[in-house]
């Protein structure tokens, strides 16, 4: 391969891996929006909390990664339940602004609690997956990247199956379609809300662990959650397929733009490129690729 093409492919592959984690977190975000019509600005803090809890379990209690992973998921479930019960349920029926603001408040609280416990220094996961670079015809991919991609895809598949076939999954889809109708069919909407928040916390926690394995973790990991917004806007706010495709696309796009434009703008293009994409999408195709277009006629 020519050096130019090699560079390009390398960027795409790295972007794909990061994008798969975006997709996972975006999945949680869309789930909450679909089921409860809440825009969750605390998604990034769920990522953060998941990563730190897992790290702490491994390092402090010397528990092997597999168990730590499961324990983190249990913790995330509890976190999701608590958040839903304490802050979101009292606000059912309140205006959008109130609900958005409460998730922002929640984000602040979670972030400062994490800072109080773990400080702001960057922490590195003990190597769990082999870090050896694998070489595919010149494209260098660290093995941990492949594991991350695999895990992300695995979790997405699990949730796809869950929505399609399980009882709770079908109830969730019904609630998303019409709350009143599903309530009259005997579905407990409150329980569905709680389950949505649990799942969102769990997938975000998993995303946090995966990304922590690659980059190490510190408090700025919470900004990772904000990158979810470009992904879901691109895919359409209420589309699960859209979240997955949007996440992958944004991951690849930001890596490409960072790789090619950094030299012109003095670095850090990666951080801002997704948001430029976001504004452009909002201007030309506001409901994204797969989102439901709201039609209002006067």
């Amino acid at each position: 391969m020519s050096p130019g093409l090699l560079h390009f492919t390398q960027l795409v592959v790295t972007g794909l891996v990061i994008g798969s984690v975006y997709s996972l977190v975006a999945l949680g975000f869309v789930l909450i929006y679909k089921a409860t019509s809440v825009i969750n600005f605390a998604q990034g803090e769920f990522v953060l909390v998941g990563a730190y809890i897992c790290l702490d379990i491994i390092v402090r209690f010397q528990i092997p990664f597999g168990w730590a992973f499961l324990l983190t998921m249990v913790f995330s479930v509890v976190l999701g339940l608590l958040v839903e019960r304490l802050t979101l349920r009292p606000l059912i029926g309140e205006p959008v602004i109130t609900v958005i603001m409460v998730t922002i408040g929640l984000a602040t609280v979670l972030k400062s609690i994490v800072t109080l416990f773990w400080g702001t220094q960057i922490k590195v996961f003990p190597p769990i997956f082999p870090q050896d670079p694998l070489n595919f015809q010149g494209i260098v991919v660290s093995e941990v990247y492949l594991w991350t991609l695999g895990f992300a895809l695995l979790f997405m598949t699990i949730f796809a199956v869950f929505f399609k076939y399980s009882r709770a999954g079908i109830a969730m889809r019904a609630t998303a379609a019409d709350q009143q109708a599903s309530q009259s069919m005997g579905i407990s909407v409150k329980r569905i809300f709680a389950i949505s928040w649990c799942i969102a916390a769990v997938v975000s926690g998993v995303g946090g662990i995966l990304i922590g394995n690659i980059n190490g973790i510190n408090i700025t990991l919470a900004d990772f959650g904000l990158k979810v917004f470009p992904a879901v806007i691109l895919g359409g706010l209420d589309s699960i397929v859209g979240a997955i495709i949007g996440g992958l696309t944004i991951g690849i796009l930001e890596n490409l733009m960072g790789g090619y434009l950094d030299m012109y703008f003095g670095g850090g293009v990666k951080e801002v490129a997704p948001f430029v994409v976001l504004v452009v999408i909002l201007m030309i195709k506001p409901y994204g690729l797969f989102g439901t277009v709201e039609i209002e006629r006067v």
Binding site: I39, E94, V96, G105, T108, L116, F229, V279, P286
Partner: protein, 355 residues
Amino acid sequence: MPTGLFYTKYQDDEKIFHTLWVKIWMWALLIFLFVCFPFVAYPLSGFFGFSLQHMANMIGIFIIGAHGLNLLTGFTGQISLGHGAFMGVGAYTSAILFMKGGWPFWLSLPAAGLVTAGVGMIFGVPSLRLRGLYLAIATMAAQFIIGYAMRNWTSLTGGSAGLNVDRPSIFGFALDTDLRYYYLILILVIFSTLFLKNLLRTKTGRAMVAIRDRYLSAEIMGVNLFKYRLLAFGISSFYVGVSGGLFAHYNLVVSDEHFTMWLSIQYLAMVIIGGLGHVLGGIFGTIFMVLLPELLRIPTEILSNIYPNIFAIFGTLRELVFGLVIILFLIFEPDGLAARWHTIRAYWKLWPFSY
């Protein structure tokens, strides 16, 4: 004092001061702020352990911005997570025009407002097709994009080192002390409050409130959504731009670290805690939010006897309390301090025959 509503004309209903007493109290407050406050501020500062004059200036600066956000969020129903960055646009505009362009302050400050209004309207364009949710996300993107520009457009903004700004003078009167600057801020606060209050009584203001309450109905009644939403964005950004300009010349240095997402959140917290859709809300909310960190110092100092390293985590504790205050207010007092104020006043109006 009247014990009920006895309006016989629409003009009575629209009055800013419904009774003579309200007017008298307002004048008393203004006289206190203009004449007495500077004398009281200095001795009291020693008592409280922080400069009351400095606090008053900060409150004044942020009241102007909070009024702007309140017009947009509280009266037009458009949520903005970008007002921190918009304030930054105002601050940088005034600083650059004043320091590099050599403009006089009385021109650079309004220019800061106008430039910010322009930037705000660009990011407000998606609001015309989208509902509140999307707008929150679009303005959040504005926050990040503008923040990036402030950091990386080094030739214009000085990058992360920031820009140094001088204290200005207006028509030969140097605003070089906190007290002199205080009068400028006070006058602008009064003017901006009056403008907001009066705007709401005009056709424009009513159209905005109609859009907030139910935009479809408003459109049916003939309100031009495009025009009024964009106008709300423009005026709101103008306010926050002026506030940014004032901040730049008061703080003497502007850098991107002042205008992060965190500031946008604080602005939202100010109007929500104060009371969305009340002119008083912006004032109460700002006073509360600016004083909160100072008030937090008192328990922190007491606790520092037990936990000596508590000052190291003071910033984090402050954020924690901010977040908790926002959540608790939204759950238990969703209409904010202004609504509570009205309740208390209504109680005393009919006292002792409240029922």
